[in-house]
């Protein structure tokens, strides 16, 4: 089983002390990337839920720079201490509350080391109190203090309560830390010799808008905060009255001008408050440079702004292409990183603001305006190469290797500049790969402005050299006049494709290769229209070729039309569904065709081409359907219906799992296996062929499975597992269950409507029984064999014999 596709930007990344490694929270692990190659080195595995923060123990002497220790906190309620060079888990502190953020001020100040004995190490945690849900329904997110040395929470210390789980921000000296709480900013001062129950001083700074992010100046008492409208507030000399101790210089000129505090609201404890405004939307990133001369800010525009703190002058790093989320500085002043919301971390070379390297994760799902209900559009899989492709916001398609868990390449589909704050007016609506992965077809739609200038565009691509990227081969403007394209399908063997449109026609495209004379090596190949067809002017909603390419099936709303793609002749029309069909697929090389329709009466049907009729159908909302290329299995990802009778029954078991993967054999309508999965909405499913070169996973028994089933959930996390090996390891994201009968089966179609329902299958039957049982070994034939002195005593024989008789009869009874 292979997992991957984790978000790299769920929490801020942290540099190691020598700035050669970058620690990134990826799901329930911490991945460590090399900053010089931007490839993953190792992983810290141990947490069972999302890791929310990483704190690297800083080094104060050059010799200790190689030390690689870090603390991590996670939603599973533990704080763990690691040596991440090995990597090895060294300590676990269990506080049993989901931790959203953690800071450890003690390790940041050098005082801790100068003492003879190591004092207690305290961490401040932002937790959610899950235990007392009934008493305090609203406020149960708190900031707590935790003694890490003694592995316990400091009793009775609740620093603040917030509505939302908040990120705790700490100054680089470890002197102050704070959280934002709506329009307020709480700042605490850490006293030098911390002990449990020590009084912590707190000030609060106010603002009129919701604050989003803030940062402490590394040396001075300056705090900068960003708000939702894009303003940046700079409070200078905050906490002068409250945190007066130990800062003699500040204290000296403190009280002179009591009433001259420009910009400071009300009774806040600060000298002045300046406002800078450049960002047009929410500020998401704020960070001071390590010498405190510059402030970095960023937001939705995807522009990193460098403010000179004294003058307020700006420099920009534009065109990052995606909203910024985090900015991390390292101890090496020339290296920092910026995390973008497209799941990418850029490593910046500092003074020149160049991007050195990028660490690209799987593209996170982004909201596209769904103009057409399509099933094919979200993911495409290259079944042989083990690639999955996603649409990205900047009109690209990212090809991501499922086996290697990293990005392979990106293909720019529309040559357009992308600004993250733009309205989406051009959408890649469809993408299809040919079965051998050598050709790709995409469809894009440009939305009209008040009925002007809309455009549908079909593009054909051929794979480039060394299977890196795709090269545009043909553009077809308005292939079906102005009607949108509903589906594209490639011929399995030949250079042929079909595109169906909502405008009521479909076109078969053929690629003509014109190999020119030997002196002109240029190979001119283009796709041209080969044939046009329509059926009663009905919108064509789905299309597919059979495995040998001799049959073309096209769904004309509720019926399936079968065509001969060569002669463009209508061969047959099959049956009717209740809702327009959105997905059609032949199952392997069999004569069966599976169709899925969506809507209020969504339906999954299997059609037999030999009988030209429906075999069976379920009332299921299928999110994705995947078929084995050679074989008779197919898998369906379905959303569990809300009003299922089983909700009460299985609620505790299913928790959070809103979908199921059903593996069917063509022959029978009962799923062979069922898995329940989380976040199935917007998920995808495919069978991935395994070749030994690409498969480095855990093959325990030495032989490779014929195909792995890949499941991608709505957050683009994926898992690859062997669907046939039923006793396999239980994935945590995917949980296999006994098939809880889908009793919403609509048994009233076709055969059933005429002849009545077929005998109900036993919903509670155990899955292992469904698996084809080998005939029991017939002990009555063997136990009496052999020479008589070898025979066991008669008492043993008798019981074995009787047992075998009993076993033999069981299936008879159950039938």
């Amino acid at each position: 089983m292979i997992k991957g596709g984790k978000s790299l930007v769920s929490s801020p990344p942290v540099f190691s002390n020598d700035a050669k490694k970058l620690l990134v929270c990826t799901g329930c692990t911490v991945s460590i990337f090399s900053t010089s190659t931007s490839l993953q080195i190792t992983e810290l595995e141990g947490h069972t839920a999302l890791v929310t923060s990483v704190v690297v123990v800083p080094a104060f002497t050059p010799s200790s720079k190689i030390l690689c220790y870090c603390w991590t906190s996670s939603l599973d309620g533990t704080v763990r201490y690691w040596d991440f060079s090995l990597p090895e888990l060294m300590k676990t502190v269990d506080i049993r509350l989901p931790i959203f953020s953690m800071v450890i001020p003690g390790i940041l100040s050098q005082l801790a080391e100068t003492d003879g004995k190591t004092p207690n190490l305290f961490a401040y945690l932002s937790v959610e109190n899950t235990k007392i849900q009934d008493d305090q329904p609203k406020v149960h997110r708190k900031i707590l203090k935790c003694n890490l040395t003694k592995s316990r929470l400091a009793a009775g210390v609740i620093l603040a309560e917030t509505q939302q789980p908040e990120l705790i921000t700490i100054s680089s000296s470890g002197k102050f830390f704070g959280v934002r709480n709506k329009r307020k900013l709480h700042v605490w001062e850490v006293i030098a010799h911390d002990h449990e129950g020590a009084p912590i001083k707190k000030i609060t700074l106010h603002h009129t808008k919701n604050l989003t992010v803030f940062a402490f100046h590394p040396t001075e008492r300056i705090v900068a905060a960003g708000d939702v409208t894009g303003r940046i507030l700079i409070w200078r000399s905050f906490g002068r009255r409250t945190f007066s101790m130990g800062d003699g210089l500040m204290n000296g000129r403190a009280m002179n001008n009591e009433d001259e505090r420009p910009g400071v609201r009300g009774d806040d404890d600060a000298d002045s408050c300046a406002t800078w405004h450049w960002h047009s939307a929410e500020v998401k990133v704020l960070s001071f440079s390590s010498d405190g001369a510059y402030l970095f800010s960023g937001g939705k525009e995807g522009v990193l702004v460098f403010w000179q703190l004294d003058t307020g002058k700006k420099k920009f790093l534009p065109r990052i292409g995606s909203p910024l989320l985090y900015f991390a500085t390292s101890l090496d002043p020339s290296l920092s990183s910026v995390s973008c919301s497209d799941n990418r971390i850029h490593l910046l070379k500092m003074p020149s603001m160049e991007i050195l390297k990028s660490i690209s994760g799987i593209k996170l799902p982004c909201s596209f305006p769904e103009i057409y209900e399509g099933l094919h559009s979200r993911f495409i899989f290259d079944q042989t190469a083990g690639l999955v492709a996603f649409r990205t916001e900047n009109y690209c398609i990212q090809f991501y290797s499922l086996f290697d868990d990293r990005e392979n390449f990106e293909v720019q589909i529309c040559e357009r500049n992308h600004q993250p704050s733009d309205d989406v007016t051009v959408v890649v609506t469809l993408m299809v790969l040919s079965p051998d992965g050598s050709m790709m077809s995409t469809a894009e739609t440009k939305f009209p402005e008040e009925g002007l200038g809309g455009l549908v565009c079909l593009k054909f691509w051929t794979s480039g050299s060394q299977s890196k990227g795709f090269i545009l081969s043909t553009i077809i403007y308005e292939p079906h006049r102005d009607a949108g394209i509903s589906a594209i399908a490639f011929h399995p063997t030949r250079h042929m494709a079909v595109s169906s449109s909502y405008g009521g026609d479909f076109k078969i495209w053929a690629c003509s290769h014109e190999i020119q004379q030997r002196d002109q090596t240029l190979q001119n190949s283009g796709w041209t229209c080969h044939a046009v067809g329509s059926y009663k002017r009905k919108p064509m909603t789905a299309a597919t070729f059979s495995a040998d390419g001799s049959v073309l099936a096209i769904a004309a709303e509720t019926v399936i039309t079968i065509w001969d793609p060569e002669k463009n002749v209508l061969v047959a029309v099959i049956g009717e569904t209740l809702e327009p069909i959105t997905m059609l697929s032949f199952i392997g090389k069999s004569e069966y065709l599976v169709s899925a329709s969506r809507g209020s009466k969504s339906q999954l049907s299997l059609w037999s081409l030999s009988k030209l009729s429906e075999s069976w159908s379920y009332k299921l909302q299928a999110e994705a359907v995947a078929c084995v290329m050679d074989g008779s299995y197919f898998a369906v990802l379905t959303l569990l219906p809300r009003s299922s009778k089983h909700t009460e029954l299985t609620e505790t078991k299913i928790d959070g799992r809103d979908g199921a993967i059903l593996l069917f054999n063509v022959g029978e309508p009962i799923p062979v296996t069922t898995w329940f999965v989380k976040k199935a909405k917007g998920g995808g499913l495919a069978f991935i062929h395994v070749n030994s070169a690409s498969f480095k996973g855990n093959v325990s028994d030495g032989k490779l499975p014929p195909a792995l089933l890949a499941y991608i959930n709505g957050n683009h996390e994926y898992v690859l597992f062997n669907p046939y090996n039923l006793e396999a390891h239980e994935p945590s994201m995917v949980v296999r269950e006994k098939p809880v009968g889908i009793e919403d089966e609509t048994g009233k179609f076709g055969y059933a409507s005429i002849y009545g329902a077929l005998p109900e299958f036993d919903a509670k039957r155990n899955q292992t029984e469904l698996a084809p049982l080998l005939p029991s070994e017939k002990p009555w034939e063997t136990i009496f064999c052999g020479s008589s002195h070898n025979l066991p005593p008669i008492t043993k024989l008798c019981s074995a014999f009787l047992e075998s008789l009993l076993e033999k009869r069981t299936p008879v009874i159950s039938d």
């Binding site: 490839l39 065109r319 990106e410 500049n417 440009k446 402005e449 008040e450 002007l452």
Partner: protein
Amino acid sequence: MAEPQQALSRTFPVKPKLKAKSKKPSKTPESKYWSSFKSHTIPNLISSITSLSFSPATPHHFAAAYSTSLTLFNSKTLEPISSISSFKDVVSCASFRSDGLLIAASDHSGLVQVFDVKTRTALRKLRGHTRPVRLVRYPRSDKLHLFSGGDDAVVKYWDVAAESGVVEFRGHKDYVRCGDGSPASSELFATGSYDHTVKVWDVRVSNSDAAMKINHGKPVEDVIFLPSGGLIATAGGNCVKIWDVIGGGKLLYSMENHNKTVTSICVGKIGRDGGEGSEQYRVLSVGLDGYMKVFDYSKFKITHSMRFPAPLLSIGFSPDCATRAIGTSNGVIYAGKRKVKGEVESGLREFPSLGLMEEPQRRVLRPSYFRYFHRSQGEKPSEGDYLITRPKKVKIAEHDKLLKKFRHKDAFVSALSGKNPENVVAVMEELVARKKLLKCVSNLDTEELGLLLAFLHRHSTVPRYAGLLMGLTKKVVQMRAEDIIASDVLKGHIRNLKRSVEEEVRIQQSLQEIQGIISPLLRIAGRR
């Protein structure tokens, strides 16, 4: 990992939509050769060009017979040199002697005259035909005799010096229209007649029977011997036929690619300088359908085809492959001229000699010379050199720069004031994608609106842009109606627009009519 720098710094300028490339296969080397003749029209000749003949001697002037005159043209400049107009009737045919000094011409009065090319004086008058003479031809090498044929169906063989007929052949039953002397023997010649036959005569056999008779099947318009002398090409009706003379007049191939009567054929040569495919002969044929076709008689394939806007009557091809001339029925000669390499080389030959003179005087470069600092800057890379090229500078158009700064209206106006309508439409499409087009339109001032209206007038009915521009025109007129009423200039634009719309409506109507005619036919065709 993707290359981050590239990913970030890329900007895409707005690009017009791609045009469909023609599916026509790119030109073969041969058709490239044939279209390398730079076309040149010689207009305003009075009547149809009945005959074109090239002089066999360099510089290969050619004579065009039209109306009652015969004009000599320079094949290099395609300018008329001299004109012979001492004919009483329409000149039908002309033929140079093998040395190019004399030219024989026949006219409809039945007279055949022999002129000195230089002085244009008629040296001999050959009387004997009673009806218009259509054919006069010198044999390929014989300088003393010529043969002629006419509407009296008689072919005569003349002794030019004595002005007397040597032999008369009375084998044809209809008008004799054409003929050619054999390249193999000057005593052998073929004539074609409207009685569908081509007859090969031998003057040594004085009985009136032909040495060979070929039935073309249609009235023969032209006949030529192919350069080997073993093959004859005949033209008549809409076909050109190739016959094997040595094999007893066997039909080898019939080329039927013309739609109308083939009026004239001649032998052309691919005179490419050396290399593969040079010195190959082709049959060039012209017809009343306005096509000139090049026929490769070794492969029996049409290798090139060219259309002219008038019925073609005659064709000639110069022996040095530099000029071809085609005469039409309405007094225009389409001459084609091709640069011959040998000629260019001869021009160049003079320069090296000059260079040789200068070479020894070239001084050794020293740092005190200015040229010293420029030395070897013009050096060309040699074969094995690794070239480091300067990164190409991206040219950003004015409207792209403005679009980058989000100055949408300025970008729009800048594109409009440019010349390329493709760019304008591309900018419009980009503005649509940004949802700013209508805003831009509403912000235009009167002058810029005039620019836009003029553009719409010119291009809104172009099929490629119509989808966007027609809708836009409507919107513009709706949105800016008040401004348009206020300004006279804009009203003028609107009038123009109206006119183009009316014209488009007319076109659409006639197209629909055509569709109405065609669709039943297609229905019927589809039923079969």
